[in-house]
């Protein structure tokens, strides 16, 4: 069962053992820019999660567990361990006891490592760093709840795939791979999602952390594909604040597309309004696309604290269950 417990430890979380920890509040500590100073992703994830919350989440699947849900007639082949002997004794009928299982769900973290993810405006972390922090935090959170966590990193193709496990030490593998991620080539997000939909056979939660620079219609198809496979989708749309604002000090810039290396002279003050309008429309379309496909969508900027991301994520998950 999923339980949301908005922890009061947001304010009262024990300080992390760092030299500067005593001088900052826990909330302040969740600032991505400060978190960037923590070299260990595991430590970072723990700081975020421990400092933020602890809780469980409900498995979407029924199974054989300890909490009774219903009876059903015995069919041949059923495990006799679940036969209700008492009922058989009283009524001479064969019933199988069904239980709601607090199963360990499988969650795959899909991290976009395309070149566009390495963007950061001044005094900010890159989108990829933010994605790493977020993915690590979610992985830690899930692992803490005994869920299986897998990691998939992709740009125009899937180049890193860590299957979901719930073993001791798996987190280190996840964190290890996460910390090794670097921005690679240009992306084809929808194609990569289609590819992953084929790869991820077992149903589970798929958390996508990306800047979603693809056409919303193609992404919609990709979401539908994943949904068709039975996955529960959570989309973290990570953008740098400057990608929304398009604020530059220089009157003239030669903008270079991170992925295609195409260059374009731009007068920011001229382009700004038009750009803002278009990126706003894109985000809006993404939001609609996600809503129409029952995808939990959250637009994050790299300035936003990670606990906000987690809170948003978990509240949506709780609301859904």
């Amino acid at each position: 069962m999923f339980r949301l417990r908005r922890s009061k430890q947001i304010e009262t979380a024990p300080p992390v053992t760092t030299s500067s920890a005593s001088s900052v509040t826990p909330a302040r500590f969740l600032d991505p820019e400060l978190l960037a100073h923590i070299n260990s992703l595991e430590l970072l994830a723990r700081a975020v999660v421990e400092g933020f919350m602890s809780g469980l989440h409900r498995s979407p699947y029924t199974g054989f567990s300890t909490e009774f849900t219903e009876y059903r007639q015995y069919n041949q082949g059923d495990d006799l361990r679940y036969l209700d002997w008492r009922l058989l004794g009283r009524t001479d009928r064969y019933f199988i006891k069904k239980y709601r299982a607090d199963t360990n769900t499988q969650c795959h973290l899909l991290v976009d490592t395309s070149n566009s993810m390495k963007y950061s405006s001044a005094s900010s972390i890159t989108k990829l760093q933010y994605a790493q922090f977020l993915a690590a935090s979610i992985a830690y959170l899930l692992n803490r709840q005994q869920d299986s966590v897998g990691l998939v990193a992709f740009d125009k193709r899937v180049h890193t795939h860590v299957p979901a496990r719930n073993r001791t030490g798996h987190m280190r593998t996840i964190f290890g791979h996460l910390s090794q991620l670097t921005a690679g080539e240009e992306s084809n997000l929808s194609q990569s999602l289609h590819q992953l939909a084929e790869i991820l056979n077992r149903r589970g939660i798929v958390v996508i952390v990306s800047d979603f620079y693809d056409h919303p219609d193609r992404l919609k198809e990709a979401f539908q594909h994943l949904r068709f496979k039975g996955h529960d989708l959570v989309a973290f749309h990570v953008l740098d604040q400057n990608e929304l604002d398009f604020q530059f000090d220089e009157p003239v810039l030669l903008l270079e597309d991170s992925e295609t290396q195409e260059q374009m002279p731009v007068l920011p003050d001229v382009v700004m309004n038009g750009y803002r309008e278009r990126i706003r429309r894109h985000v809006e379309k993404m939001r609609q696309c996600a809503a129409s496909n029952n995808v939990d969508y959250e637009m994050m900027t790299t300035k936003q604290p990670l606990d906000y991301a987690l809170f948003s994520f978990l509240s949506r998950r709780a609301g859904k269950r």
Partner: protein, 682 residues
Amino acid sequence: MNFLAPLFFLGAAAIAAPILVHLVRRTRARRVEFPTLYFVRQVPQRTIRRRTLHNVLLLILRCLAILLIVIAFTRPFFSGGSSAKTTTGAGATVLLIDTSLSMKRDQLFPEAQRRAEAVIDDARNDEQIALLDFDKRYSVINRFGADKNRVRLGVHSLNVGWDGTDYEQALRGAESLLAELKTGGPKKIVMISDFQASGWNQTTATFKLAGDTQLTTLDVGGNDSVPNVAVTNVEARGVIYTQKYADNLAVHIANFSDVPVEHVAVDFQINDQTVEKRDINLNSRDTKVVEFTGFNLNDGSNRCSIDIAVNDFAPDNRFYFTLKRAVPAKALIVESPTRGRSDSLHLQSALTTDDDLPFGFTLKTAGAVDPANVPEYSLIILNDAGTVSPGLADTLNKFVVNGGQLIVATGPRTDVTSFNNALQTVMPATLTEAVQTKAGESVSISEVKFDHPIFEVFQQSGRLAAAHMIGYFRSQPAGNAAVLARFEDGSPALLESHSGKGRVLLFTSSLGPSWNDLSLTPLYLPFVHQMVRYAGSHEANSWYGMGQTFTVAKDKQGAIPAIDTPNGTRLSENRTTPDGDLLVTGREPGFYRLRYNSSPDFAAVDIDGLEGDFTKLDFKQFLAGVTGGAGAAENSEAARKLSNEEIEGRQRVWWSLLLLALILLLIESLLARRTKVVKMIG
């Protein structure tokens, strides 16, 4: 357009600064990696292009502002051509080119043509241009038109003449041409000349340009003092009646430079033979009169010249004139028969003492005159002739109408009634009453027209009042009569009238001692000589000025002689007087040969003596004079000679340029501020 400080044009290199900044900034636009250009590309590019244009405008504004500042520092002032371009509307320009003799110096005239072409080139294409050349007169070469080539051809067709300079006439011509113009727009006169001071007389100048007419002067004469010695005038009697020239022939020689000139050889020639040579010295700005006398002349017309041996402007080093030795004409003195000594004794004595009078006199009484012989005389003097018979009166009337000269002097024997009746048609006055002063009293001649040829010799002496008049006639002047002198009571003393071709002089007192003591005074001889010479003043001038028209009389057969010009070509003039005499205008210096059948005659034509004075005109006074101080004139040449303060005052256009530059910079600043873009990209 001219510039006082053209070196400041080097500052125009500063224009490179904004251009370089523009180019450098363009290439140094910071490269910034951005996640995707997908959305940027969707922003309409025309906005960027418009901004690019915007920035080009800023660049142009900056360059223009710098250029204006640079030009302002060069202190420009506009010449005629350039200012013509700056004016609004087509406008009209009259191009005045000096073709006077002084323009023959050096390369002045080619330079003038070049400057004229520059003015034409600078004119707007739709500007109306007229071309006039001028010396003492002006002539229209091209009337107003916008065809520049036509005006250029006109400029090339011009030649320098021999005449003097009169700027006032030229301006009058230009102004009258402008007055004919119907179209609007600015009116301008561009005068190209060497601007001699002698071409404009400030004291007599009355002409003023219209207020809307701008005068631009282009001086091609340079500012250096040009040394020149010239023969400026010869004073001589054109006709004498004796072999020896008894008068003084005065030759005026002037040094127009500031440097004294020594040992100028003056060569007097008659018919190409040197008669006498003189050697003179001239101080700076000095004029000397060299006199020649006592030389002999051949019968008929003699070609005379004065040459000075100086190495300067050649045309004024020779002066041409003619001296004619003629046979005196017949003249008749008519008196009344008297007993004893004739009243005409003094008159006869006075007229025969000088054999250089144009007349040879015969004395007769009125009754002895045969009317049939009257036409043989050229001059008849009725000296207190008493009663004039009707026959003689009729003959005298015809005599006057046909060109005869008549001098009438009254006296105690004059029959007023017969006189008035007989000669009424030709007489300048009707005699009314005889006045006899009281004993011991007299009147004198008081009011005299000294500008008349008869009295001009008395102008300095003023002694005409010395004669005492005790008797005279009061008279009523005719409508066509001129009163040349009056008595103290206002009665006319001497009257003149013309009748037909002839002339009549009436002296209302006596020429004998009957009514006055004039004949006993030293004034008498010159007085009667002047009257007689005036009466016989058909004699030709010894020389004519350039452009002056003289009459070539028919010969005895009534034929007009052929005329050769000084350069030997046959003259083809067809202007005649009402009497059929030919009118000839002197166009070049030298002798015009009049080919009469009997004997050749000559007419000398000379240049204006002052044309050799190259002293520069005072531009300030000239411009102020012709514009009435309105300031609608500009002198591009003189401006260079002005003081710094004056130059500063004359080329205030730099203020306007600076102001314009500041306005441009202000606009640029606002534009740049508004867009927050200072630099541009392609």
